[in-house]
């Protein structure tokens, strides 16, 4: 058993399996994304591909601090959160490949992974849009008297538009059970926080909405875990929303094909020296976990990733009729503009 210490004392005691499963999730996210980048360059993945590499500790630390039936709402850089939530690598990779077996049946792609059965409400690609949805999802649970809480992730860039203001304000006014997690990776696309935001310590913005907030090291898995546990206790107790700014960094471009004129190689290398996976690995080794054990996890993950690639590659594309499916709840007759009279509302 391993004890997780925080300033307030012992937070939790974990068995090794739990900690190793977190390590495994981070490795899985990184390897899935490295392979996705290669598949993108080979033309197997289209559209935009926003990689989370470097930020893995935020999703893994945060989602493991919640209950399995809590709600998760994410931005478009969503592969890491999906995998940390337990979406199968197969379903994620198949979605990236645009296949019928993908978690969104090939309709969403990289930016729109979702799994309703895991209360993973999806990745959203209008910056800030998911904050309003998260407020509504949390409202529904509060309304129904559920204990569930909602965690909503967004980038530093999202804190400069109207969705942020309106959603944080409404959540505070209505005491909605939401944890806001800002993944501050220093850049909104290629514009640095310093050039885009009057306040560069993003967590300070939350005080305008009377929402308790803290800034944490997002590259430290255990710190993320501890902060989200604190936040979850606060929110679940009915004290209203809580705000976390996780300072993190993406090693890759904003998306594939980013010329990266806005930052230096040295900056990336500086951050990579504090790589979240390496840091957690050192912690595990200090706690007496053997290198062999960790290597066996790498081997297992490798098998899973290769299997996911095979599965994605061999899966069929969505059938042509899928084009017309799910525009509306009732099946359309080939033209969603002029629905047949049969599509009258359910009585």
């Amino acid at each position: 058993m391993i004890q997780l210490q925080t300033e307030e004392g012992v937070l939790s005691t974990f068995d090794r399996e739990t900690l190793l499963s977190w390590y495994r999730q981070m490795i899985l996210i990184r390897r899935v994304e490295e392979e996705a980048a290669t598949a993108y360059q080979r033309g197997h993945i289209g559209g935009f591909l926003h990689l989370y590499i470097g930020e893995e500790a935020v999703a893994v630390g945060a989602l493991n601090a919640l209950r399995p039936d809590d709600n998760v709402v994410v931005h478009y850089r969503d592969h890491g959160h999906a995998l940390a939530r337990g979406l199968p690598a197969r379903a994620v990779m198949a979605e990236l490949f645009g296949k019928a077996t993908g978690c969104s049946r090939g309709k969403g792609g990289s930016m729109h992974l979702a799994d309703a059965t895991k209360r993973f409400w999806g990745g959203y690609a209008i910056v800030g849009g998911q904050l309003a949805l998260a407020a509504g999802i949390a409202l529904a649970d509060q309304y129904a008297g559920h204990e569930r809480i909602t965690i909503c992730f967004f980038g530093d860039g999202a804190t400069n538009n109207g969705y942020f203001l309106e959603s944080l304000n409404l959540a505070a006014v209505w005491h909605l059970p939401v944890i806001w997690v800002c993944e501050n990776n220093s850049y909104g696309m290629g514009t640095s926080v310093e050039r885009a935001s009057a306040v560069t310590e993003i967590y300070r913005k939350a005080c305008a909405y009377n929402t308790p907030a803290e800034q944490i090291d997002g590259q430290d898995l255990l710190e993320v875990y501890a902060a989200v546990r604190r936040a979850a206790d606060h929110v679940r107790a009915g004290h209203g929303p809580y705000f976390i700014e996780a300072v993190t960094y993406r090693y890759r471009g904003h998306s594939m094909g980013d010329p990266e004129r806005y930052r230096s190689k040295e900056e990336i290398e500086r951050w990579a020296r504090h790589d979240p996976i390496e840091r957690f690995k050192r912690f595990l080794i200090e706690e007496g976990i053997s290198l062999e054990m960790l290597e066996s996890i790498h081997a297992e993950v490798e098998e899973e990733v290769q299997d996911a690639l095979r599965f994605a590659s061999e899966s069929p594309p969505p059938p042509p009729e899928a084009l017309w499916e799910d525009v509306y709840a009732a099946p359309a007759a080939g033209d969603p503009f002029i629905l047949p009279p049969a599509v009258a509302p359910a009585q």
Binding site: I126, A132, L133, I137, A140, S167, A329, I338, P341
Partner: protein, 324 residues
């Protein structure tokens, strides 16, 4: 059968649906304590309490966006945006989220929400007098309703609240005091039905919302003054659009006038004209005429405003031109 106002019809639909289904709730600016800017929700706070009649900050974007999230997670929100002018601030949540969450996640989520809002004018000048139903009607995934009568407002709002898809429901401020017969027993009307509101053999006039009343009055006057019988087809649902009554009517009259309060250009009228050309080209005896607002920002001056907006006189003139 009672004769009630359009406002009372909307309120009755809201009250009945809230009594019927615990998941239905109202959120919007001034819907509670104030009783609704147009007094539609008056009394609802007393009956249903603050949990179900929720005053919001002036935050059109999150009103719409939170309604989407609440609908996805099992509620039946009726979000009110005071006027359609302010709904432009909600547009992203409606177009990019309400209309998309079912499709882009492969059918995993529902979005059974209603966005109630109003069109209308009255010396409110450029930013408070507009009507944007075509913005919404353009979008696959949305349903758009713009009722013209108390009965339609009642029956269609009830259906909209029960519908599994997002519905934009646009009332007209000039119609709130209009009275009409609404059966006392509860009923719903199907979304996606057009209806002949006045039969006639000479010209098909397609209209909705306030222009339906202008068209009906124009038709009465034309019958009396000129012996011309207009067939007035109402399209209370704009999307999905039930074309059949329009086409069937046109195939008997060979002439059409399309009346809307929208600006001339890129509007619903153009879509309906295109549909008539596509489905009934061989029946065309005269160019289809459109009666619309003049394509200028709405002015304050009463005299200028009157010039900018269409009414029964323009409909009468257009009918005379197509029968000539």
């Amino acid at each position: 059968m009672a004769e009630i106002t359009y406002r009372e019809a909307v309120r009755r639909a809201l009250v009945e649906e809230m009594r019927r289904d615990e998941r239905v709730f109202i959120m919007g600016e001034e819907v509670g304590v104030w009783g609704g800017t147009y007094a539609v929700t008056r009394g609802l706070l007393d009956e249903f309490g603050e949990k179900r009649v929720r005053d919001t900050p002036i935050s059109e974007l999150v009103i719409a966006g939170a309604a989407v999230g609440a609908a996805m997670n099992g509620l039946r929100p009726v979000a009110e945006i005071m006027t359609v002018n302010f709904a432009l601030l909600s547009l992203d949540a409606i177009v990019n989220h309400a209309a998309k969450v079912r499709y882009m996640f492969g059918g995993q989520f529902n979005c059974p929400m209603v966005l109630r809002t109003t069109a209308g004018w009255g010396q409110l000048s450029a930013t408070h007098s507009q009507t944007f139903e075509n913005y919404f009607a353009h979008v696959p995934g949305l349903k758009v309703i713009m009722p013209g009568t108390p009965k339609d407002a009642y029956g269609l709002l009830k259906s909209a609240i029960r519908d599994p898809d997002p519905v934009v429901f646009i009332e007209h401020t000039h119609l709130y005091r209009v009275r009409g017969e609404v059966p006392d027993e509860e009923f719903t009307l199907p979304i996606g039905r057009s209806e002949v509101k006045r039969p006639g053999r000479d010209v098909t006039v397609v209209a909705y919302s306030r222009m339906l009343h202008e068209a009906l009055q124009a038709a009465d006057e034309l019958a009396e003054e000129e012996g011309i019988e207009c067939e007035v087809v109402d399209i209370p649902t704009l999307r999905p659009l039930d074309l059949e009554p329009i086409i069937r009517s046109f195939q008997r009259t060979y002439r059409a006038v399309l009346a809307t309060e929208q600006w001339l250009g890129y509007g619903l009228d153009a879509e309906i004209a295109a549909q008539i050309y596509e489905h009934a080209f061989d029946y065309l005896d005269a160019p289809i005429r459109r009666v619309t607002a003049r394509p200028v920002p709405l002015p304050y001056s009463r005299d200028l405003e009157r010039l900018a907006l269409p009414g029964k006189d323009e409909i009468k003139q257009a009918v005379l031109e197509v029968v000539r």
